[in-house]
């Protein structure tokens, strides 16, 4: 008996040692990522949270000021302006971009000659860097530029895209919509994945094109719509480059989001404070944006069950 117990104990110890060894190996393989995560993500995130409660200048120790940075930020009129601009881009721009992407994807999903070339053509703009596409549209849309000249041929006066607050954000949305290849590709994958039998079934019921799109395509790609909406929303909240390029074109060297603040984004506002070396204030801005992103994402996730189609057995 005693021998059996000893053998069992030894086997148990051996298994335990083997399990620890396995864990060690797993950790060893994970360690590059873990170290990278700790150094480049976890530490900066925690540090920025600490700095947001301090006055911090480069090279100097931080001085604790509690919630003062947050208090001053809430008093800043630029904050509301930037949030209003962001809301416009999210509420108007994002749905337009997604709708056109779904439309293009559903057209390109049908097997027909030359589809590959069309897909490539639609995708190419999305590999153009955002700054380059901003500069390109600045050239295209300015007075005397190709688009204004074309409109003039038809007797139409081109809008002042970069000097009229009413047209500045639509110009920004236009650039975003032009580069919809990445989103379109995701939709395309989703649409191609829809079982053919669903279309056949609805066609037997006498459904037309719109009914097929409305009752089959849309519900089946709704998880993709949800995903692109979520990532698109995060992208809009962080909008900077194209707004900055357009604003620079209207006004040299500053971060006022000209014309008339119509292009001021949250990130541009934040850049002001980085440039002044006010790290604590800028960190507070980053955390306000993080909380805002968290709330919006949470609301979107909460709304998911109401409109996102899930297959049977999926939660």
């Amino acid at each position: 008996m005693a021998t059996d117990a000893l053998v069992l104990q030894r086997r148990h110890s051996a298994r335990s040692r083997a399990a620890w060894r396995r864990r060690g190996i797993v950790l060893a393989f994970l360690s590059p990522w873990l170290i990278g995560f700790a150094v480049f993500i976890a530490y900066p995130v925690v540090n920025s949270l600490y700095w947001s409660f301090t006055i911090k200048h480069y090279g100097q120790p931080a001085r604790w000021v509690g919630l003062s940075n947050y208090g001053l930020l809430l008093d800043n009129p630029g904050l509301m302006l930037a949030l209003r601009n962001t809301a416009y881009l999210a509420i108007v721009g994002l749905p337009i971009r997604l709708f056109i992407a779904v439309l293009c994807a559903s057209l390109l999903a049908r097997p027909r000659r030359g589809n590959g070339s069309y897909r490539l053509l639609f995708y190419v703009p999305s590999v153009v860097p955002a700054v380059a596409s901003g500069a390109l549209f600045f050239f295209l849309l300015q007075q005397g530029g190709p688009i204004a000249s074309l409109l003039e041929v038809f007797g139409i006066e081109a809008p002042l895209w970069f000097r009229d607050p009413a047209w500045a954000k639509p110009a920004l949305i236009m650039v975003g919509t032009w580069a919809l290849g990445d989103v379109m590709l995701i939709f395309l994958a989703g649409i191609v994945d829809i079982p053919r039998s669903l279309y056949e079934a609805i066609e037997l019921d006498g459904a037309g094109r719109w009914a097929r799109f409305r009752h089959v395509t849309l519900p089946m790609v709704s998880p993709v719509i949800f995903f692109t909406l979520l990532t698109g929303m995060i992208g809009v909240l962080q909008a900077f480059d194209q707004a900055y390029v357009f604003s620079q074109g209207a006004r040299a060297g500053r971060l006022t989001g000209e014309p008339d603040g119509a292009l001021l984004t949250y990130a541009m506002l934040q850049l002001r404070y980085f440039q002044d070396g006010r790290i604590g204030f800028a960190a507070a801005m980053a955390w306000v944006m993080f909380l805002l992103t968290l709330v919006i994402t949470g609301l979107m996730l909460a709304s998911r069950r109401r409109w996102v189609h899930t297959a049977v057995g999926e939660k």
Partner: protein, 505 residues
């Protein structure tokens, strides 16, 4: 003022997963930080202008006689009596970060480096052209690896430099060595001075003046450029051309072509200020009447035209640095600009030097010919970062660079800014002004003791941005005079609160 380069971050599109959101937030902060490039670089240079090849000519730390300076002998390479004795150090390579990043500028800078290496046999300078030096320097000092010396335009950033102890104050070193600050133009010294400390040695100043197109002035029967504010407004009215359908075809004069880049600086002419000399107090409230006067003055030029038509005109203007430049094409015959623009018409237009000139900008009290009020929005200087291995070596190097008059003059002939070193300024006047007489006005403005430079405070950038946006609103008529007053006072209070928090008051 400067037309420097800006890095722009690519918008991050993080995934929808929770870790993605964390990552997106962290990356957004990192990318924005990485994008904070200032206009530290100097002006773009003429691609075709040849770099200087003049032989080195040592200079000293004594103030040269500015009234009858003799040209130096370009073949002379031996140090003169005024050259400070070369310090005896171990052979050392010093790294220098400089705002001059284009190849033409780097080539033009090269003789300056070689000259100082020749004067100081122990010294080798490793030149690193860098955009956004302000933030890069902060990061390098935080990491404990600053360059040994810096040449940059850090105008308006001295409060942050002092608060973060980014640079060595050279006041004591200069006093110990008997350095004569009068060897530099007053504005050059003012630019690097904050709270009684001087952070480096002057290199160049950016002066601004009123460019005028003589041909176009002749067209309207005006003899010469305006001397007073009233004349400027009258000329602007006469020069304005609006077609029958209401389209603006030519604008006589507007401050900063409508983009607001000089909106705040113009207010200086009216005595308006943003903050106290020590950067600790917002002073808008003390000069609110002057701010309103300055805003009204700017607005009157925009009121001459329909705002939409003016916007359409401005939007259709050609590129600033091209043959389509609005001044060169005669679309804006009275134009407020910096000295570097003197090289533009020659570079992009044909036969312009005979047809255009530059004068001091009229000011409320009229132009003082002897000592004109000079607006110096920015400038460059040599600086020693905090934490360098050996301050004495860096000090010896920047002293040599700041006093290498002949090489500085040659460099600015290519670059178009005005030397701060008076001996270099004399040489510049003798050589460059002889070729481009329009520089003469800028040389006079640079010499003026009545020069004003931007102050500095820990809230400078954000405050100037908000002030600019507010003044643009007023120009457009979106904000009345009374509203402007209220907004200015509110800005004063809010930024004073921010400043108090930053300073721990």
């Amino acid at each position: 003022m400067k037309r420097g380069k800006m890095m722009t971050p690519k918008t991050s599109r993080a995934g929808g997963a929770r870790s993605g959101r964390w990552l997106a937030t962290a990356l957004a902060a990192g990318l924005v930080l990485a994008a904070c490039a200032n206009d530290d670089g100097a002006e773009p240079t003429d691609d075709t202008a040849p770099p200087t090849t003049a032989a080195p000519e040592p200079t000293g730390t004594e103030a040269p006689d500015t009234t009858d300076a003799e040209p130096t002998d370009t073949t002379e390479t031996e140090p003169t009596e005024t050259t400070p004795p070369a310090p005896d150090f171990e052979p050392t390579t010093l790294t220098m970060w400089a705002g001059v990043t284009d190849q033409v500028g780097i080539d033009a800078f090269e003789p300056l480096l070689r000259r100082c290496e020749a004067d100081n046999p122990w010294l080798t300078i490793d030149y690193v052209g860098k955009d956004g030096i302000g933030l890069a320097l902060s990061a390098a000092i935080e990491a404990g690896e600053p360059p040994d010396l810096v040449q940059a335009d850090l105008t308006g950033q001295l409060a942050a430099i002092q608060a973060a102890e980014l640079a060595v104050s050279v006041s004591d070193l200069a006093e110990r060595d008997g350095l004569d600050w009068d060897a530099f133009v007053p504005a050059g010294v003012k630019l690097l001075e904050f709270n009684g400390e001087r952070y480096g040695l002057p290199f160049s100043v950016d002066t601004v003046g009123l460019f005028y197109n003589r041909d176009v002035l002749d067209e309207i029967g005006v003899d010469g450029p305006p001397d007073t504010f009233d004349e400027l407004l009258t000329d602007a009215q006469k020069l304005l051309i609006v077609s029958d359908d209401g389209a603006v075809e030519r604008v006589g004069f507007v401050p900063d072509v409508g983009d607001g880049s000089y909106a705040v600086y113009f207010a200086d002419m009216f005595g308006a200020t943003l903050y106290s000399d020590d950067g600790a107090t917002i002073t808008i409230v003390d000069t609110v009447d002057q701010w309103i006067e300055a805003a009204q003055w700017q607005k009157q030029f925009y009121d001459l035209m329909d705002p939409q038509e003016f916007a359409r005109w401005a939007d259709g203007l050609g590129s600033y640095d091209s043959a389509d430049n609005y001044f060169i094409k005669g679309q804006l015959p009275l134009y407020f600009e910096g000295s570097y623009f003197v090289t533009w018409p020659d570079r992009f237009g044909e036969g312009r030097p005979e047809e255009w000139g530059v004068v001091s900008m009229p000011v409320p009290g009229g132009v003082d010919e002897e000592n004109p009020a000079s607006l110096v929005p920015s400038g460059n200087w040599f600086m020693i970062p905090n934490g360098v291995d050996d301050v004495e070596k860096s000090w010896a190097a920047i002293k040599c660079l700041a006093f290498a008059s002949e090489e500085i003059a040659s460099f600015q002939e290519v670059y178009g800014n005005i030397p701060s070193n008076i001996e270099a300024l004399d040489l510049f006047e003798e050589v460059t002004v002889a070729k481009l007489p329009q520089f003469e006005t800028f040389v006079d403005l640079a010499r003026s003791s009545n020069a004003s430079v931007p102050g500095s405070s820990l809230v400078s950038g954000a405050l100037i941005d908000e002030m600019t946006a507010l003044l643009l609103d007023h120009r457009r008529g979106d904000v009345s005079d009374d509203q402007l007053r209220d907004e200015l006072l509110a800005l004063n209070d809010r930024y004073q609160d921010e400043l108090d928090l930053e300073l721990g008051n």
